[in-house]
């Protein structure tokens, strides 16, 4: 098997998690027009929550991500009510600044509670390799991919099939019309902020096993999530899913042909490229 195809497969496996992270950010942006610069920090909180469950209660991270996600939902809801809601009609400038402040507080809180030490779960699964015909795939990545796929499909169904999901899309289309239609915009915004954070948290839990955990681990994920959302078309949840996979593959190819130090450089290059060529996003649709 060529290394190229192998790298693509690995990239898709990671990309599914990126998709979940990006969908969370897209959800928040679509419904609130707020770019959450604390997204990576919330992901980091999800990782620590999963780690604590693993460390103290021996709960496997591939199960622990679920309570971690639920915890992040509540946490996100509280953060929304106390900090984000007051600025929801203010300028982008103030909103971005505020979420950056939240990110700094979360990162340093993790540092105070857990110290700067690198932690690991040492799960055996991480070192197991599965053979699918010509491909050799990491068992942990396959499992996280399967769970991420369920989350992606579930979220898509939720957004397209349920009443709340439709209300959510209506607000993303046009908040004024939505409120005229009798949708409680404020409640849906709180819900989608919390849900977006929960997705980041759950993805954090799933990312935990193969990675080292430290307080600053989330920083790059804010950038990644933003690049995904730009690539997918600002606020498009389906676009973010595809863009997440694309980013995963591009990073995997970067490691293959160059070095994974440069993954973020490639992400940034993609970001600038999309902004210069098609700022509406490659998978997005033009809006009025």
């Amino acid at each position: 098997m060529t290394p190229f195809l192998q790298a693509c497969m690995n990239g898709l496996l990671t990309g599914a998690l990126y998709a979940v992270i990006g969908m969370g950010l897209a959800l928040i942006f679509g419904v609130m027009r707020i770019v959450n610069f604390a997204h990576g920090a919330f992901l980091m909180v999800g990782m620590y929550a999963t780690f604590v469950l693993f460390d103290t209660f021996k709960i496997n991270p591939y199960i622990g991500f679920l309570p971690a996600g639920i915890f992040l939902f509540g946490f996100g809801y509280l953060v929304y009510l106390s900090l984000v809601r007051p600025v929801r009609n203010q300028s982008h400038f103030m909103q971005i600044l505020l979420t950056t402040g939240i990110a700094l507080i979360l990162t340093d809180s993790a540092q105070l509670i857990f110290h700067a030490d690198y932690r690991q779960t040492h799960l055996e699964l991480v070192n197991k390799v599965l053979r699918f015909g010509p491909f050799a795939l990491n068992a942990a990545s396959v499992l996280s991919f399967a769970i991420a796929a369920v989350l992606i499909v579930g979220l898509t169904l939720f957004v397209t099939r349920t009443l709340t999901g439709q209300a959510l899309r209506a607000i993303a289309q046009n908040p004024e019309v939505a409120s005229l239609m009798g949708i409680n915009v404020s409640r849906i915004q709180a819900f989608s902020f919390a849900l977006g954070i929960a997705l980041a948290g759950a993805a954090g839990g799933l990312l935990l096993p193969p990675l080292y955990l430290y307080p600053g681990v989330g920083e790059d994920y804010t950038t990644k999530a933003f690049v995904i959302v730009v690539l997918g078309g600002m606020g498009s949840i389906e676009g973010a899913a595809i863009a997440g996979l694309v980013l995963g593959v591009s990073e995997s190819l970067t490691s293959l042909y160059w070095h994974n130090h440069w993954a973020l450089v490639i992400d940034f290059a993609i970001f600038l490229l999309v902004l210069s060529i098609k700022p509406g996003g490659i998978f997005g649709r033009e809006r009025a």
């Binding site: 649709r285 033009e286 809006r287 009025a288």
Partner: protein, 245 residues
């Protein structure tokens, strides 16, 4: 009289929605023309197309003999197209005179001269007493005038007044109409947009163009257009067409 602005078969769609279809009309120098049509008929899109905030998918927009279809907003402004916004957009933390100075800066880099020019325009619009108040707290009628003042300070040849009287009381609207009627004195032609052929339009418009679902359905003198069956149908639905006859 020479043609100031001409739209030739202009078309614009968003996704599957045809916001403006095949619209053509022309405006002469010194003329006051109003585009009327129900909410969502495509008026604001037409204004955004003329001023360069949007670009047509097909057709051409010609201003003073030049095709401006692809120009950016600041370029159309520099060619002499001033505009106001449907939802008033004052710069809230600047004072009234500073807001108007922004327009005047197009013709002078000197703040003092820009201030003098702004003061003259404020006097014309009867706003001199408000000049040092921040725009933030002004009532809507004053904000609408402020928008006109800021656009007028760029010394435009054409002004686009989107929903210029919406939200105003009848007496406020009539007072504003008197001012709009005098804009041609400044060498300005006007394209206004309103939802209904109201008193104001009857009074000041030389001509009206009626839009419905993005298409032009009628054009002519205001008094003639209001009695056309297609116009009545557009506003009241087909049921009332019979009554109108």
């Amino acid at each position: 009289m020479s043609v100031s602005l001409e739209l030739r078969n202009v078309h614009k769609s968003f996704g599957g929605l045809h916001a403006v279809r095949d619209v053509s009309f022309a405006l002469n120098d010194g003329e006051v023309l109003f585009i009327i049509g129900p909410n969502g008929a495509g008026k604001t899109t037409v204004f955004n197309l003329i001023s360069g905030f949007l670009h047509p998918d097909a057709g051409a927009i010609v201003f003073q003999g030049r095709n401006i279809s692809r120009l950016a907003p600041h370029q159309t402004a520099r060619l002499g197209i001033g505009r106001t916004f449907q939802i008033v957009k004052p710069l809230p933390n600047l004072t009234v005179v500073q807001n108007v100075m922004l327009g005047a800066f197009m013709h002078t880099p000197n703040p003092r001269r820009a201030e003098d020019a702004a003061a003259k325009i404020l006097a014309f619009l009867g706003m001199s007493h408000l000049r040092d108040f921040p725009a933030r707290g002004l009532p809507l009628a004053a904000l609408k005038r402020l928008e006109i003042a800021r656009a007028l300070a760029t010394r435009p040849r054409l002004m686009l007044l989107d929903e210029v009287v919406s939200g105003l009381t009848t007496s406020e609207a009539l007072a504003l109409a008197e001012l709009i009627k005098r804009l041609p004195e400044w060498g300005v032609s006007v394209v206004g947009g309103v939802e209904h052929v109201m008193q104001v339009v009857m009074k000041i418009a030389d001509r009206v163009v009626v839009l419905d679902y993005g298409a032009k359905i009628a054009e002519g003198r205001p008094a003639d257009v209001v009695n056309l069956p297609v116009v009545i149908e557009a506003y009241l639905g087909p049921k009332y067409k019979e009554l109108a006859r």
